[in-house]
Amino acid sequence: MLDYSRCKSIGVQKQGDNRRVVSGVLEDELYAMECEISVDWPSLTIESVQTRMKRFTTSRCPRAKEVFTRAEGWKIDSELDGKIKKELGRYGCRHMAVLMVDCCKTLARAELAREFRAALEEDPNLEARDFTEAFLQRHPDLKGYLQLR
């Protein structure tokens, strides 16, 4: 018998040269929530955060929403996961914090995938490891963040 199930779905889009947008949903037995984040590229700065606590457990849960916009102005770097978990999870909602961490990580991985796809079109024999190394040299802030392995 199934006791618990959590589904997360996250999508990334490129909006022009300088903006990336990620949207995510989390749904499980206890919670349902949505998160949308726009990020300036290549400064990697979070421009806007929109969240919706759709389904929750206590009458106090919606208060968490006030906290999440604190991430506006934060940079995507190796400190981000900890900041989201400590400053948004603890004061807001740790389930939304998990979704936000995944959204930001997915957005950064999307950039790598997008550039990799384009590089492969130029050079079908390109080694993935060589590309990854060059990508991280171009985006040093992502080196400790992307968690590719």
Partner: protein, 169 residues
């Protein structure tokens, strides 16, 4: 706008027999796909079986996880698990990504065990509710755990100050 990258994950917790759970997590994005399976047994909530199977690794960066996953046997779901799992699976020779996915799978067992408690709290201390951001035609939150029960729950030191629901109590 058309998406150009997606990540989907599904984590399930099922009872195999009384006090024995199987947690299965499948996580997939354009570059990487992995399946984590853990079996955890009460009362210690220790891991009895752990399988980490990389299904797709486009960048070819993941190490062989089989010997590392064997080291998860005996690790308990509970306080201190983050440090232990990151120590066992993560680091320069391991996979921080796999460590985080295993931790998330372990966290889902905690959630699964919490559900009956929250059901009881909602049955005993549930109040009719209408949220401003709910509806206007279909309401997902008709009943929520009310203020009195939230105060009782916040007396649990593990919940106190843990999130917006239990702060200022």
């Amino acid at each position: 706008m058309i998406l150009d990258f997606q990540m989907n994950s599904l984590t399930t917790v099922e009872t195999l027999e009384k006090g024995l759970w199987r947690i299965n997590q499948r996580s997939e994005d354009n570059l990487f796909s992995i399946e984590v399976t853990l079996e955890v047994k009460a009362p210690a909530l220790d891991i009895r079986r752990a399988v980490l199977e990389v299904k797709r690794d486009t960048l070819g960066l993941m190490p062989d996880l089989s010997p590392l996953s064997e080291k998860l046997i005996g690790v308990r779901v509970g306080p201190g698990m983050t440090k232990i799992v990151r120590g066992v699976l993560g680091g320069p020779d391991g996979s921080d990504r796999a460590a985080d996915l295993v931790l998330e799978a372990m966290e889902m067992l905690v959630n699964a065990i919490t559900v009956p408690e929250l059901r009881k709290a909602a049955a005993m201390g549930g109040v009719p509710y209408k949220a401003e951001n709910d509806g206007p035609k279909v309401f997902l939150n008709d009943v929520v755990v009310g203020e009195d029960m939230v105060r009782k729950m916040a007396a649990n030191p593990r919940l106190k100050d843990s999130c917006a629901a239990f702060r200022d109590l």
